[in-house]
């Protein structure tokens, strides 16, 4: 169980970084985001750099009572983000800009929805995924 506000904070930072990456077409920025997603997906969201920033600077200023959530949905979402960021990174490094722009835009859509509305696209897709897989 983790503080449910943490993933929303991370999604907000992700959205800002993705906007900056889209505008500047900077491979460095998208690689930073790729690393964030990678650590979140494979080591767990609480181990990611954005989560560290959250615990160090944000959480102490917020109320002590909070909604907790299971770590698996945000971890699954970080993995989905990782896949998109991987395509975006390949696009940026090979100067295949349509690939970079498309992948980054999808990631931005999901990250913005999560931070602004608490909407977790990956979580909603989970049951549909289970229904299909065990068809």
């Amino acid at each position: 169980m983790i503080d449910a506000r943490g993933p929303r904070w991370s999604a907000g930072l992700t959205a800002i970084l993705l906007i900056a990456a889209l505008i500047t077409r900077s491979p460095i920025l998208i690689i930073i985001q790729l690393v964030q997603f990678g650590i979140g997906a494979f080591a767990g969201p609480p181990k990611s750099p954005y989560a560290w920033l959250y615990k160090r600077f944000v959480q102490p200023r917020l109320s002590k009572t909070f909604e907790s959530e299971d770590v698996r949905p945000p971890q699954f979402a970080q993995f989905v983000g990782f896949v998109f960021a991987l395509f975006a990174t390949v696009g940026a490094l090979t100067h295949t800009w349509p690939l970079f722009v498309t992948a980054s835009s999808f990631a931005l859509f999901a990250a913005f929805l999560n931070s602004a509305f608490g909407y977790c696209l990956g979580c909603k897709m989970y049951l549909l995924g289970v229904r299909l897989r065990r068809g």
Binding site: L108, F109, V130
Partner: protein
């Protein structure tokens, strides 16, 4: 300039989607055709004398917990109505038959187990009270 327009487009689209989803989420829609029915055997629990509020949840769904506490507290005021929570993943046949696409989904059943209303997403307290008053 093109990139800025794209970013604005993605954010506008995400905002519209988020607002639409917030409005829709938890709204109780009344079913006129009564085509779905559920038996006590299928949910592993006796049906309520007057009605049953059947909640589909999944293990790592955060709004499911809020829904559980809303439903059980409202239902406690109606001795002839029962709140039953089932795990969507371990009842996939029922999930497919009732076409449940995400958790939480709440199905309102009449005394003979016919679906008379449904709410997708976490319903608010007064929405549940309104639905039960109609039964």
């Amino acid at each position: 300039m093109q990139t800025l327009a794209l970013v604005a487009l993605v954010l506008t689209f995400a905002t519209s989607f988020g607002i639409w989803d917030k409005r829709r989420s938890g709204r109780v829609t009344v079913k006129e055709d009564l085509r779905h029915s559920v038996s006590a055997l299928e949910i592993g629990s006796e049906l309520g004398e007057a009605a049953t509020v059947l909640q589909f949840s999944s293990a790592f769904c955060t709004p499911c917990r809020a829904t559980r506490s809303t439903l059980s507290s409202v239902v406690s005021h109606y001795p002839k109505i029962k709140h039953v929570e089932v795990d969507a993943e371990s009842n996939l046949d029922l999930v497919r038959r009732l076409d449940i696409r995400q958790t939480p989904t709440t199905i309102f059943l009449n005394s003979s187990g016919k679906e008379i209303a449904r709410a997708v997403g976490a319903p608010k307290r007064d929405q549940v009270v309104n639905a039960l008053e109609r039964i």
